[in-house]
């Protein structure tokens, strides 16, 4: 009796999941169709409903970015391309269209230092796997070395190399997560936002930020955020005028 009840629950859950998935695909298809028929506002609403539902994917954000681009909302277009690249750093279409949107909006980019440029050769996911593999490999070889009577210089060298790979990977992860493309990356969605020296509308300006410009959020204070700016300076901008890339 109990087994039958559990099986029923599983079956209902699978049916519901399938129904939800089918509904999402239907919304996605309708949004695509609206886009193809140049009903960009309708398409954007459809894509954004999927985003709100948490059904995130690089393709969804890419399509939403295209729609925003067509609507002339370059700030949100760039934001969504960035989100697509945050989910899939090797998304070629998002990368290409992001360049076009930046060119259109004259958006400013945060400057990467050389460490971050080199670290960017691989993704955080790849570094995470490399760090784990290097660590465990070093641990296995070390265990073997300790439990055998033979001391091999080759094995010690392999351990050192594995630990080095793991350490470099962890450093790269730290660099990327705290760098310009990391967790604090945000995009200016408002138009011609002025970064200021203080949290007041009449405070002295630091930099005028076109829509789509990148900033790195350093701290939040009520309606204002303190951010690192593309010109290597720092300033306050209204919190409502920028959005974090990572949801």
């Amino acid at each position: 009796m109990k087994k039958r009840f559990c099986l029923s629950i599983v079956a209902v859950a699978l049916v519901l999941a399938g129904a939800v998935s089918a509904a999402d695909e239907s919304v996605f298809a309708k949004a695509n169709q609206a886009y193809n028929e140049s009903r960009f506002k309708e398409a954007a609403d459809g894509y954004e409903s999927l985003v709100r539902a948490g059904n995130w994917s690089a393709n969804l954000f890419y399509d939403l970015g295209n729609t925003r681009f067509r609507l002339g909302d370059f700030g949100n277009a760039i934001l969504n391309y960035e989100r697509a690249l945050a989910l899939d750093p090797r998304h070629p279409e998002a990368d290409a269209n992001l360049r076009l949107a930046r060119d259109e909006a004259r958006a400013l980019e945060l400057r990467k230092d050389w460490i971050e440029r080199y670290a960017g050769m691989a993704t955080v996911k790849q570094y995470s796997i490399a760090a784990a593999v290097g660590f465990w490999f070093a641990l296995f070889i070390a265990a073997q070395l300790l439990l055998s009577r033979r001391r091999s210089a080759g094995r010690i060298a392999v351990i050192a190399m594995s630990l080095l790979v793991s350490g470099v990977s962890i450093f790269a992860i730290y660099t990327l997560e705290n760098g310009t493309r990391g967790n604090a990356l945000a995009v200016v969605t408002g138009k011609e936002i002025v970064a200021r020296l203080a949290t007041a509308d009449d405070a002295k300006s630091v930099l005028l930020l076109p829509a789509g410009s990148e900033i790195k959020i350093l701290s939040d204070r009520g309606d204002w955020i303190y951010a690192a700016l593309p010109n290597d300076q720092r300033g306050w901008i209204p919190a409502s005028s920028a959005e974090r890339v990572r949801l």
């Binding site: 886009y35 295209n66 002339g72 279409e93 980019e109 955080v124 641990l139 296995f140 005028l208 010109n231």
Partner: protein
């Protein structure tokens, strides 16, 4: 004469009041029976003649006086408090007395409303008081006193306006100094809105707080306020600057405070400074009075700027210098450069705009930010810094030169400052295109270029596939599944370590067993060389030696080895195999048959033969 009002004492006679006080004191109920009175030292006075207001709280060990007492036409200020402890019939009563000075500012009948006083936790209210204020007593008392109110302000104060030059160009900044002096015998209470330069055709900087000094001019001592500002003519021609007007309130000594016996001013000029020591305002009562004083106007001759101004002239007049720096020194195409232009000097900084770039082709320029730091009090000398963000569209080797033009009134000509191009390195992107347009000479920062129409862009197509599972922005290392997955190599490592330890343990046991067997075999072989061993014992030992050697070769239990096993282990020929069988038979015979057959020692030949057989057992 005191006019005394009390909401209780006004009702009851004094004797009854005393009885009530005694009764209250006997019952130790001060706080609950506290009393408050309020009196004026005089209920009739004149404008400028102060009276004293006294509020007395009795019967409470603690009291809180009223806050500010506001009555239109009266200036009421708290002047102090005192405490009184009165004893009567061995009962003691606290009294708190609060004193106020009431200065009538105008004539009329004024009512001081009831004031709330807190005493011993309860709230009491004073009675309403009435004060009759007549017009200034001086006006009613004597013609001389009346004349004293119409004091000539020029005798007690002065205003001066000084310009650093009276010939200037339109837009040129001209430092100006305004000095306002008041005789120390008529101290100034308020300067109103400060000094205001009236006139048309020029603008004036906002004046800062004045500097105060004490100066002696023509034998009189003045408190002098010095205001500094700068004027900027807005049109050419003759411009009248000023007069400067100051509305001030000064304290004029009251004439009626002087004793009639005091000597009078010899010249009777109605001049308060001529009064004697007793008229010193520090000691004599005085009356606040508003006065208006003006300076003489100054004529300014203003010339127009000469024609032929360069295109990038933005209206700056003065004398300036220009410096520029850029950072970083190298970048990729599209990366921003921050160019900082610093303009230092003296002039109308509000008209100093960001320098223009000589050649903007191949660059995106964003509106600059400006920051001004003045070196002086009036803001005509200092440093203005502009930060402009540029990004290159193509490979570049230098940031273009910057130009800033101003008019120098000393040289009477336009001057264009040029900051040299700044070497930088822009990598990536396309090679620089040949210049096709003349350099932009816009005097002000260009606004960002309008974005092109989106429809002109060839953005890539929509993607119509959604992955089966939604993706997450959480990086892999921060996901629980990643750390759960680490359990797999952890368990594998633990298993590997356990296996290695078990294997080592087993290897250790086997090694010890083999060592024991080898040791036993060696001992047997040594004993076989001895002659004093009985044949039964000898055969037994020899067969045991064969079993041990075979067991070591085949890794077997020695007891399980027989002649055939040993023969096959060492791959013996048939003759040797037969000899080996005979050895095992002899050994079994000796072991199971009990005693010997009478032969006590084995022949040497037989012994050597067996030794040779055992020595030749090699795999």
């Amino acid at each position: 004469m005191f006019q005394t009002l009390s909401f209780r004492s006004a009702i009851f006679p004094r004797a009854a009041l005393a009885a009530v006080f005694a009764f209250l004191a006997a019952h130790h109920s001060w706080a609950a029976n506290a009393d408050v009175t309020a009196v004026l030292s005089n209920s009739n006075t004149t404008v400028g003649q102060p009276v004293q207001l006294q509020i007395k709280v009795t019967g409470s060990a603690s009291a809180k006086p009223p806050g500010e007492i506001a009555v239109d036409g009266l200036d009421i200020r708290f002047s102090g408090q005192s405490q009184l402890l009165e004893g009567r019939n061995f009962q003691f009563t606290y009294s708190y007395i609060y004193n106020y000075t009431v200065m009538p500012l105008k004539a009329g009948t004024f009512k001081i409303p009831p004031q709330r006083v807190e005493a011993g936790g309860s709230a009491l209210r004073t009675p309403e008081l009435t004060l009759q204020v007549a017009a200034d007593s001086a006006t009613a008392q004597s013609p001389r006193s009346k004349s004293s109110t119409s004091i000539d302000p020029t005798k007690i104060a002065f205003v001066e306006l000084t310009l650093s030059k009276t010939n200037a160009y339109v837009g040129e900044m001209i430092p100006a100094v305004v000095r306002v002096g008041f005789n120390v015998r008529t101290p100034v209470e308020s300067l109103g809105n400060g000094a205001e330069i009236t006139g048309q055709g020029f603008t004036a900087q906002k004046m800062r707080e004045p500097r105060q000094t004490i100066e002696t001019i023509s034998g009189r001592t003045y408190q002098v306020f010095t205001f500094k500002t700068a004027l900027s003519p807005a049109r050419s021609g003759k411009i009248e600057v000023g007069p400067v007007q100051v509305d001030a309130v000064v304290r004029i000594p009251r004439p009626n405070s002087r004793s009639q016996s005091m000597p009078r001013d010899l010249f009777d000029m109605n001049d308060p400074f001529m009064d004697n020591f007793f008229r010193d305002p520090l000691f004599a009562p005085s009356t606040p009075q508003e006065i208006k004083i003006k300076s003489e106007p100054v004529l300014l001759d203003v010339k127009s700027l000469p024609p032929g101004a360069p295109a990038d002239f933005g209206g700056a007049v003065g004398n300036f210098s220009l410096e520029t720096v850029a950072k970083p020194k190298s970048a990729q195409v599209g990366d921003p450069f921050t160019v900082t232009a610093t303009i230092t000097g003296r002039g109308n900084f509000d008209r100093v705009t960001a320098p223009s770039f000589e050649d903007e082709q191949g660059w995106h320029k964003y509106p600059p930010s400006a920051d001004f730091k003045q070196d002086d009090d009036i803001g005509i000398s200092g440093t203005k810094t502009f930060e402009t963000v540029l990004s290159a569209n193509e490979r570049k080797e230098k940031i273009p030169a910057q130009l800033f033009t101003y008019f120098d009134p000393a040289k009477e000509q336009y001057v264009t400052l040029r900051a040299e191009p700044i070497p930088v390195r822009v990598e990536g992107g396309a090679a620089p295109s040949a210049p096709t347009a003349p350099a932009s000479q816009a005097p002000t920062a260009a606004a960002p270029q309008a974005p092109r129409a989106a429809s002109q862009q060839e953005i890539l197509h929509q993607l119509t596939e959604l992955p089966a599972e939604s993706q997450s922005f959480i990086p892999l290392f921060a996901r629980p599944t990643f750390w759960l997955a680490q359990l797999i190599p952890l368990l594998a490592l633990l298993g590997f370590v356990g296996w290695k330890i078990r294997r080592a343990h087993l290897n250790n046991r086997e090694a010890r067993r083999r060592e024991a067997l080898q040791h036993e075999a060696a001992a047997l072989q040594r004993s076989l060389r001895r002659e004093d061993v009985s044949p039964e014992e000898y055969f037994s030992r020899a067969s045991r030696a064969v079993q041990l050697k075979t067991a070591l070769v085949r890794n077997l239990d020695p007891n399980a080895v027989d002649a055939d096993v040993a023969a096959s282990a060492f791959k013996m020929d048939e003759a040797t195999r037969t000899r080996l069988r005979r050895l095992f038979e002899k050994s079994d015979e000796a072991r199971y048959s009990g005693g010997g057959n009478g032969i006590r020692l084995l022949p040497a030949e037989t012994r050597n033969e067996l030794l040779e057989l055992i020595d030749n057992l090699r795999p």
